[in-house]
């Protein structure tokens, strides 16, 4: 009896803990670029010309997204505004690059039912869902770029909160309130093609910008007193009116693909049960590095995309078939891993040496067995 009570108590504590750690819909996910750093905040930056490379390549900025409940988020990434599982909030590349999950945040009065009734939170999610499918704002102009309703990651979060009457950025940050100053932001990068796009943003005077240097004269940035400043610091301000909520460490930091969950590796995904499985990741990396960039590889991918979804459907329905598929995939994954890590030609050399080793060993044992039998026959 006593043991039962203890067991029940432990189960209750675990259930309660699980319940409190679940994120609330509307929570803002937030990660740094590296460690505790959000680029644009502290250092002088060396930037490549391309805005794309700056954000998604050589320079990583922090990132924000909106949790919409049931293990899903909506966030703006290079591909556009997408809905995906929360595991995809941070990519494997983010984690490998040292990015850190900074926790989930909500407005300070978010638990006040009078101020935040369920329908207000739901309406915010509805606005977020409406934006799914729109462009990423490559010009980084406040919330919407080029007047076409596209979003940066933070811009999207700000937009949906503002649509339900909550200003997530500090007073004066955009409005030019106390101490506000207008900066001219000129986008004129030859490589990006966003030339002669001039935007004016108003920020609080006290805001910290980071200086950047760049090999080319023209680049997106804020000109102020002869220096150029980068726009990224704006990520940090999302925190100013929010408070942290309990983390659910299992969800947003699993290092997903970042995109919408479709890996294209249909059979492996069915066999391993998730697009996030590391084995699927090996195949995905091989596909992106070797197949997608060659005409032969692309022809194979088209063929594979044609016949594999129904096969994957069959496999997904049976645990036995999944196990068989996993066994059959072992050499494919091993080969893909070898090629991806060692390189194509090196893999051929390694595979050739391994084959020669096996063949030599087989020949040796065969000859030895033959001579033993011969000796036995003589005796």
């Amino acid at each position: 009896m006593r043991k039962s009570i203890i067991a029940l108590s432990i189960a209750f504590i675990f259930a309660a803990a699980a319940n409190t750690s679940a994120y609330e819909k509307g929570a803002i996910f937030y990660h740094s670029s590296k460690g505790d750093l959000i680029y644009g905040r502290t250092s002088i930056l060396e930037l490549p010309c391309s805005v794309i490379k700056a954000v998604f390549g050589e320079l990583k900025s922090g990132h924000a997204g909106l949790y919409i409940g049931e293990g899903k988020i909506i966030h703006a990434i290079r591909d556009g505004v997408i809905e995906t599982t929360s595991e995809n909030f941070m990519t494997k590349e983010d984690l490998d690059g040292g990015a850190k999950f900074m926790g989930a945040k909500v407005p300070a009065d978010y638990s006040d039912k009078a101020k935040w009734p369920d329908e207000r939170k739901d309406q915010m999610i509805l606005f977020a869902k409406e934006q799914v499918g729109k462009w990423y704002d490559l010009t980084f102009h406040k919330q919407t770029g080029a007047g076409s309703g596209d979003f940066t990651c933070v811009g999207l979060v700000e937009y949906v909160y503002e649509m339900v009457g909550y200003d997530i950025t500090p007073l004066g940050f955009y409005s030019g309130g106390a101490g506000g100053k207008t900066y001219t932001q000129t986008y004129n990068c030859l490589e990006t093609g966003f030339s002669d796009l001039e935007r004016v943003n108003t920020f609080a005077e006290t805001m910290q910008f980071s200086k950047f240097s760049h090999p080319l004269e023209f680049f997106a940035g804020l000109e102020y007193e002869g220096d150029k400043y980068m726009f990224f610091p704006y990520t940090q301000y999302i925190q100013a009116t929010t408070v942290p909520v309990a983390d659910d460490p299992a969800t947003p930091i699993s290092g997903g693909s970042g995109s919408g969950g479709g890996s294209g590796c249909f059979i492996a995904t069915a066999a391993y049960g998730s697009v996030l499985n590391p084995h699927v990741g090996v195949l995905r990396a091989f596909r992106d590095k070797y197949l997608r960039v060659t005409s032969g590889g692309r022809a194979f991918m088209r063929l594979y995309a044609e016949w594999s979804p129904p096969v994957a459907g069959f496999i997904a329905e049976s645990e036995g078939l999944k196990a068989v598929a996993r066994v059959l995939l072992v050499p494919v994954i091993a080969a893909a891993y070898l090629v991806s890590t060692a390189g194509l030609w090196q893999s051929f050399v390694i595979a050739g040496l391994a084959f020669a080793g096996f063949a030599g060993a087989a020949l040796y044992f065969r000859r030895r067995r033959g001579s033993v039998l011969q000796q036995a026959g003589r005796s």
Binding site: F56, R78, D79, Q123, L126, V132, W135, G193, R302
Partner: protein, 250 residues
Amino acid sequence: MKMIVLFLATVLLAILSPEIYAASDQPEAASDAAVALDYKMDSGERIQAIQRMAVQKDADSAGSLISILLDKAEEPGVRASAARALGEVRESGPESLKALSEVFREPGAEANLRYTILMSIGKLKDLTGISLLKEALAESDPMIRFKAVQAMGDLGSAEAVSIISGHLDAEKDKMVRAQAAKALGSYDLEASQLCLAGLLKNDPEALVRLNAALSLNRFSSLTAEARSALEAAGGDPSIMVREAAKGEKP
């Protein structure tokens, strides 16, 4: 002496000629379509080129966008960008809708690519797109139904009102019903007012009633049924619905 100078000049010309030739033969900056189609380029640069094509709204670019969209070897993000751009290049003709429909029905098509396609169909304003949107309402993924209803609001086809009204009874997802209420607000018709009045009076979800009230207040003139529903909503348990019914911003 002249011969020597002539000889030296000839030698110099011969040495420099490859550079001169190369300089004069510099290729012009690749066009956006060429960048978008070049699968060896970085995906981000390609998406950027596709975005510029969308901004230019040049109908001639539709062919390139369609070929990117239809190519199953492309990254879902690049294909989704092509789908999005097609929705903005409205003069592209029926081929765009055909390609969007084909990819939407493709087995294994990535979810966000399909959401983007539905949004683009709404933007295209090709009224024949309504049949695909209707088909999408039968899918199990609520986000597909949500985007289909949203697209119906954008499409501008009066047929959308009867399709949405007919679908609402079977729709269990409150987000889809709320979006349906928003979409009906795009059609200033008696039928949409009737449906919205019903939602405002009877829907169990405050979110749906809220959007029904907001939509009704978008219309310039109201039917007796709609007016009565708005008046009755003055006693709604949700303060946001009450405010929306009064025409105030909740």
